[in-house]
Subunit: 264 residues, 3 copies
Amino acid sequence: ATKMALRAGLRSKRGLTGVAVMRMQSPPVNSLNLELLTDICIALEKLEMDKSCRGLIITSNQPKVFSAGLDILEMYGKSPEHCGEFWKAVQEMWLKFYGSNLVTIAAINGSSPAGGCLMAMTCDYRIMADNPRYSIGLNETQLGIVAPFWFKDTLMNTVGHRTTEMALELGLLYSPAEALKIGMVDQLVPEDQVLTTATEAMTKWLAIPDHARQITKSMIRKPTIDKLMSNREDDVKNFVKFISKDSIQKSLGVYLEMLKKRKA
Amino acid sequence: ATKMALRAGLRSKRGLTGVAVMRMQSPPVNSLNLELLTDICIALEKLEMDKSCRGLIITSNQPKVFSAGLDILEMYGKSPEHCGEFWKAVQEMWLKFYGSNLVTIAAINGSSPAGGCLMAMTCDYRIMADNPRYSIGLNETQLGIVAPFWFKDTLMNTVGHRTTEMALELGLLYSPAEALKIGMVDQLVPEDQVLTTATEAMTKWLAIPDHARQITKSMIRKPTIDKLMSNREDDVKNFVKFISKDSIQKSLGVYLEMLKKRKA
Amino acid sequence: ATKMALRAGLRSKRGLTGVAVMRMQSPPVNSLNLELLTDICIALEKLEMDKSCRGLIITSNQPKVFSAGLDILEMYGKSPEHCGEFWKAVQEMWLKFYGSNLVTIAAINGSSPAGGCLMAMTCDYRIMADNPRYSIGLNETQLGIVAPFWFKDTLMNTVGHRTTEMALELGLLYSPAEALKIGMVDQLVPEDQVLTTATEAMTKWLAIPDHARQITKSMIRKPTIDKLMSNREDDVKNFVKFISKDSIQKSLGVYLEMLKKRKA
């Protein structure tokens, strides 16, 4: 399964060299489990060290979904140790993507709730399939759980304070048109043009000298990254304590049952 | 008069239980005097402790006005002690509303300048009567006085930095349509539907698990609340010192004269 | 040349007293060199101390351009001492304008890239000529250089976090229509009405009591100003170190060659 979880590689199609495309392929819905998160982080780390790589497009190889978000099975009925290890992997993914030196573009070719939305928001640019059946947003509150401060910071940096307040308190999922309107995504295109549009956008970003763009990106994102960096252990402890509560475990159980019924 | 100042009670109309409606009724324009502020705080405190209460709709029982804002008579020609006591009550109202565990919805059925706007902005959601003769905004500067930092923070959290700068420096009052456009209110409806729409919106908010919503709200609002909490006494001193100045007292006197003439 | 660099004086046209108009006149494109920056700072300082002066309109006496931004000749092939002195003058201009007690209105009657955009953004209000051939923005990244944190802060306070991220990482120049849409300017008018519209806007701003407006402006801008004030020397050192790099000097040389060719 590990080998199937992720396909990343440099492409040089259309003369666009130095651009990797990461295709998440963890059936059925690219749930971000420990394995997929680890694979993503290792792949990104390699790309960062590859001097020939300047940009990364992340997309999904699964139909109808970009990523369903954090895998609830990694936090339901698991030991505190496991939950803690899982949470560290989520932090690691966010830290690596939000602080990446590469130009990162999310080609959101399907629904992208919760952790899927977070991953998309860490990128420099977001292109979403204009299909009203897809949705995107940090809907944690609807499941009775709480997006931590760095999810909140990422959203606030993207859509502003008031929209974040409404979005997080109500756990809102937005249609592509709504997401464009509030600035959660930057561009909508027909589903079959998401990846080609991402490639075109990448060309524009790569026209900027890397060092100036990287220093600028770091200047803007560093304060947000530093907040988590200086609180990683407390953040893990808080997560483990919260997720281990009987009431929260029960909520997750109810939610998993609902998912099963929906499938059947 | 105390008994007339405020009508708060739980309602269960339409099967919507656990929702209190607070109707400000302090003729003629619901000026926020010490008495009304104290009544509001006591009523809110009781509701917070009432486990059967989950939401609060605040509205006006006076025609054409939600609240005219802070009562200038509480700061014109009064002793420093009185001004200080009054200001503590304003702080208390803001702290209680902005940090409330309840879902708070403002049903703004009339004009809402200055302190009236502040009160509305502390809520989770704002519905305003779509009547172009009504206005809303922090217009203190127009009277020669200055909205303190926590008024500014509340506005900034609602409409952003640049709009706040313009709004506060010019003391702008917005029509309902303008207020909707900048995000000072969330929804406009015909005047006779303000309260029913508030009830409908409340249903949506109450569909979210309380604990997740409350933790999320606190995470977002706590930094702003902490700024006042750690500066309450200085803020009172600043206010008393400022409002006691001859030039400011003179400005307030001119304004009160103008109000009298307008009535006549 | 010093005498030509700037024309500032009080005007009383239309009965609007107490308003100075500063006309930048440094051919061909009002590049902000050390001389012009110094002239501007001295002129502003005098106006601040002139009790009869309440407002300042800044505009260009050169055709098609408001200001082309910082003069690259002040940082190309110059000694570290000279670069440091130049950068202090840029800081001084920003500090004086962003913290000015006057009402400051930018009458942007031409293109306004980089430092020209910064200068416009320090003002209280921005009116731009609605000519699609003009552009405005902080495009430093396109030249391989980096806008420092206080340029970034000024932009963030004007257009918000996400728009700033895109604008600075891509070094975007906006058309007047785009600049209005993102809030980089406040109003567009036909080119021949820029100055008269600025005068009309000034009337609105001067209707507000000075002391209340000034305290409010300071409350909102002080945190941003304090960030530079407490880091001026480090900021100069960083600039000198960065601009002295061989790679950066080379970039500037390439850019200057391009400008020469464009002229020819």
